[in-house]
Amino acid sequence: MLASYGLIGLFFVVVLVFSLTMVVIPIILRFLKIVPSHPNPVKNSTFECGMETIGKTWVQFNFRYYFYALVFLALDVLVIFLYPWAVQLRALGTFSLWVVLILVFIVFIGYLYAWQKKVLEWK
């Protein structure tokens, strides 16, 4: 029992040493003047690609987006279930086809519900 926990402890020590070494190496190389130091604005910018942000990033999103998030979630889960079925389509046969059709039907009812309750309209 103690030996197996000891193994985990050893692993922990290796992790600590490794990560510390990785942090210290560039600093040492910098001191030894092996790494050149030529800073410029592009190098110092936060993002190396894409657009510079305009204004603050902490903006409020409209609360109504949460409906869309919920509807999206249902589809997302459906896709997760469809993938393994699609991979084994032939091996699983017609029974699983019916099962998947029922699943799609249930998710479809979820959409119908959202549609009928006017969730998809932006008032």
């Binding site: 029992m1 009812i109 519900y113």
Partner: protein, 495 residues
């Protein structure tokens, strides 16, 4: 794979979907009630028809279809049926979302049915969450301040309880390497006793699982959500919570602790003692805090904590009676605890539902849940008051009501298994409980009526209350049939 054994659940799921679909296109909302009731009748009827066959586990040993599961499926269908009948007037309080109300009750019932049948930690968790999430929504259905607060509290505390339960399940899985209950049991049996004692992970896992389930059955010290949630939730949902959710919790505890942790004896004896301890504090805290309550829903909430305490006496009996059976007499006494709990759950379901149905019918007209406002109800609504009185007497455990027989079976099983000290505490608590139950009876029959106006009630709740009272009386006078069923159901499927 044999889908025939899965028909009750499939029926219920199909009807829940049908209710959602109909709700979108039908203006007449009372049709939805009839459809949900029909679904519950079919699901319950199929469960009855399946009784007595010889059954295999389905879905790769994920679910067990045995008498135990079938009994609880019928019980849950019956509970949901009565709750939907009782909420016939109450649903008009919800301006929108009536269809969702019925659909969510059906889905919660489906989750409870799966909970009773589950034979694997994973299917257990999925069915538990199906029930819980439906109930979180139902609790917040009134959309006023109290109801929303209740729903939020229930959600947050329920999430913590789920996390604790999952942690316990993970530890048990870590030690045994199995999620299937029978496989867990054989894995524990194959360990040397010293190895089990040496690994506290298994013990901690079991204790954390008890804590997680303790939340579901509202045992002290996991009861803090009960009063606020019971008070804030719509009253039919409170009734459903106090009966359905609790029965499902006990079903799952019976299943897991019998199938997975039932052997060896020194293990079952120890968790039996944990349940005995929880029973004592649940009974004492529940009964003592129920005394000063002025709101009848809060009072019934605390009383349901105390009832969970009495029920846990049965779990303690199950734990200490798990000796390896040598003779036929011993083999019989091995199932007394389970049979007692199952009988108690059935009688408690009828009794508590009856009490809540009367409260729904009365409070719906009074628009108040205060016990003081029930004054003179014996003159204003004699039938409702009579029904409520019978149910309260049954909750105390006085003959000729079902509660007496239930307590009698449970406590005699406990005495036969050397738990006399526990029975003495339970009986003292029953006497304490008589005070606050009878206070309501006294206010109703001997109090001055605030007005002479009658309190009318419509047909469906009256019928539901009649069914409950009839059941309470029948179980109290001729308990033999249900007791035999409970004994059969108590012999669970072995793996």
């Amino acid at each position: 794979m044999n889908l025939d054994l899965f028909i009750p659940e499939i029926t219920l799921a199909a009807f829940a979907v049908l209710v959602i679909l109909l709700d979108l296109f039908v203006r007449q909302k009372s049709l939805l009630r009839s459809v949900s009731l029909a679904g519950l009748i079919i699901a319950g009827g199929v469960s009855v028809a399946m009784w007595g066959g010889d059954y295999l586990p389905i879905f790769n040993n994920m679910l067990a279809v045995d008498e135990f599961a079938l009994f609880f499926k019928l019980l849950f269908a019956g509970i949901a049926f009565l709750v939907i009948l009782a909420s016939a007037d109450y649903v008009n309080k919800f301006e929108r979302f009536q269809g969702e109300y019925y659909a969510l009750i059906l889905l919660a019932t489906l989750g409870m049915m799966l909970m009773a049948a589950t034979a694997d930690l994973i299917s257990l968790y999925v069915s538990l969450e199906l029930t819980s999430i439906s109930l979180y929504v139902l609790v917040g259905f009134l959309k006023d301040k109290k109801s929303t607060e209740a729903s939020l509290k229930y959600l947050l505390l329920g999430a913590i309880a789920s996390a604790v339960l999952l942690y316990g399940m993970a530890l048990v899985f870590g030690v045994t390497g199995e999620t299937q209950l029978g496989a867990i049991a054989s894995s524990i049996r194959s360990m040397a006793p010293v190895a089990v004692l040496d690994s506290p992970a298994l013990i901690i896992g079991i204790v954390l699982m008890i804590a997680g389930f303790g939340f579901k059955i509202a045992a002290v010290p996991f009861q803090m959500w009960v009063p606020d949630v019971y008070e804030g939730a719509p009253t039919p949902v409170t009734a459903y919570l106090s009966v359905g959710s609790k029965a499902a919790g006990f079903a799952i505890i019976l299943r897991i602790f019998f199938s997975a942790f039932g052997t060896p004896f020194w293990l079952s004896e120890n968790w039996g003692m944990i349940f005995a301890g929880l029973a004592v504090i649940s009974m004492v805290v529940g009964n003592v805090t129920a005394i000063p309550q002025a709101n009848i829903k809060r009072m019934l909430g605390y009383s349901s904590i105390a009832q969970a305490g009495y029920l846990m006496v049965g779990l303690a009996v199950m734990g200490v009676s798990m000796l390896p059976s040598s003779g036929s007499a011993l083999a019989f006494s091995r199932f007394q605890g389970q049979a007692g709990v199952i009988f108690f759950l059935a009688s408690y379901a009828l009794t508590n539902l009856g009490a809540f149905i009367a409260v729904i019918a009365i409070s719906n007209k009074l628009d108040s849940d205060l016990i003081a406002d029930y004054s003179g109800m014996g003159k204003r609504a004699p039938l409702l008051a009579l029904g409520l009185t019978l149910c309260l007497i049954s909750l105390i455990g006085m003959p000729p009501a079902a509660g007496f027989m239930a307590k009698f079976y449970l406590f005699s099983a406990a005495v036969q298994n050397d738990l006399l000290w526990l029975v003495i505490i339970a009986v003292i608590n029953s006497v304490i409980s008589a005070y606050y139950y009878l206070r309501v009876v006294k206010v109703m029959w001997f109090g001055e009526a605030a007005s002479a106006e009658k309190v009318p009630s419509s047909g469906a709740p009256r019928f539901a209350l009649f069914v409950c009272c009839l059941g309470v009386l029948l179980l109290g006078i001729i308990p033999g049939l249900l007791m035999r069923l409970a004994e059969v159901a108590g012999r669970m499927f072995g793996f």
